[in-house]
Amino acid sequence: MKKLLDRVEAVVDDMLDGLAWSFPDYLRRIPQTRVMTRARPKDLGKVGIVSGGGSGHEPAHSGYVGFGMLDAAVAGEVFTSPTPDQILEGIRVADRGAGVLLIIKNYTGDVMNFEIAKDMASAEGILTEAVIVNDDVAVEDSLFTTGRRGIAGTILVHKIAGALAEDGCDLTTVSRGANTAIQNLRSMGFALAPCTPPAAGQPSFTLAENEMEMGIGIHGEPGTRRQPVQPARDLADYVLSRIVEDLQLKAGDSVACLINGMGATPLMELAILAKDVSMWLQNANIPCNFALMGEYMTSLEMAGASVTLLRLRDDLERWLKAPCDTPAMRQGVMHER
């Protein structure tokens, strides 16, 4: 394993310190914790937003701490959900008197640890709501199993919930908005090469030169199917077909689109995928009113990408386009002329 690090057992702590140093205008690390919070706390009386999960998905989640998105991000060990005590710290700091929304990705570990923390917060008298993101169409949705995973689409939920909270909406409204986003959100990803979690020291799976994994999650695990490598255009076609079918999108429906790199795939290749996605959507007569392309939710140095569509309604589009100012996502009317 070749990695740029100092102590394998301290990667998360070292990383959090490095992030806080790199983004002093945005981030503070709460001492003795793995909670990153806003350098300038949100106004009192506004709903706080907390997210988090295993580390290794950077810039998720601390990259989204800031105006218009999260108030606190809680980091677990690499690919391991954070523990309830840490999540509770995040909830405490995010609470500005109007309650806190937890944005959870649908993994058993994340869901359970956040739920335990939520119970603890309630016991302390902090109002909390939780939404569970499950955008991954690679996995069948079912009440009798764990259901679908939460992957890169989570970023758009952060954005939408954050905009509502910054707007001064109450907890129920923020939570309802986040759930509306989740209902209209679908993603799917694939990997050309695995990643190596530092503690494990070896790749999470191995692929031959002409093989890839379709339907991966974000924890370095293998996907739902192994297949020969295909041109970007065919991959775009496959994942978009799956997403559009699952969302029952019709010609004329407009969407937001997130093209997300898994870590090692260069921006050049993501841009080529973006081109293919744009042409596919154009052929399907599905206008894209909001696009993001880059590394938003990674799996360490996995090579690959995911595509997310969010079916837009006027309100969702407005919240998506609202200003935000975080380490990894900044938008606004700043320099419009």
Binding site: T83, T145, T146, P197, G220
Partner: protein
Amino acid sequence: MNAEQFMRWWICFGQEVHAHLDDLNELDRAIGDGDHGTNMDRGLSKVRELWSLPKTPVENLLELSKTTGMTLLSTVGGASGALWGSAMVQASQKLPVQGTCTTETQIAWLDAIVASMENRGKARIGDKTMIDVLRVGVDILIKGDPPSFSERLNTVASSAREWSEATRSLIAKRGRAAYLGERSQGHVDPGSFSAALWWECLNRAMGE
């Protein structure tokens, strides 16, 4: 069960998990995310550290179960951390604050641990999780046949790895492996394997 047995049991569990660190990670790599051994090992070594402090209330079983749970809860992370941690905290209420506990109490407490996990994790036997080893074991202890607790416990400990092995043919319904669907078949569930180690250590600790 007395406090010393409790501690010997969990120290043994920690040692066994540590000895099987790579095996557990390897099992988890096949159908999960490769960290089950690392997760459990991180938490269990913290539990041991706790007891090497001078001021441990060694004679308080309730407290032992609760602090074990709290420690696991705040150090393991992941699905196993939430399940083991919160179960040990919740079930601790069944244990006495002083002295040993009776076999009946111990069984009720073990049942409460597993029930708490079932409650939180929604897994049932056959879902290819640690419940496949824990629930089956507790049910044998509850059933009272053979009448000797230590014999039943012997049976559980000596069968636990088989139950774990039996998860191989199942399709996972809960936890991370569920995302693999049919691809999860042919692999043993990592949590069921660590659960087997837990039974083995309990048996060893109670026999000493």
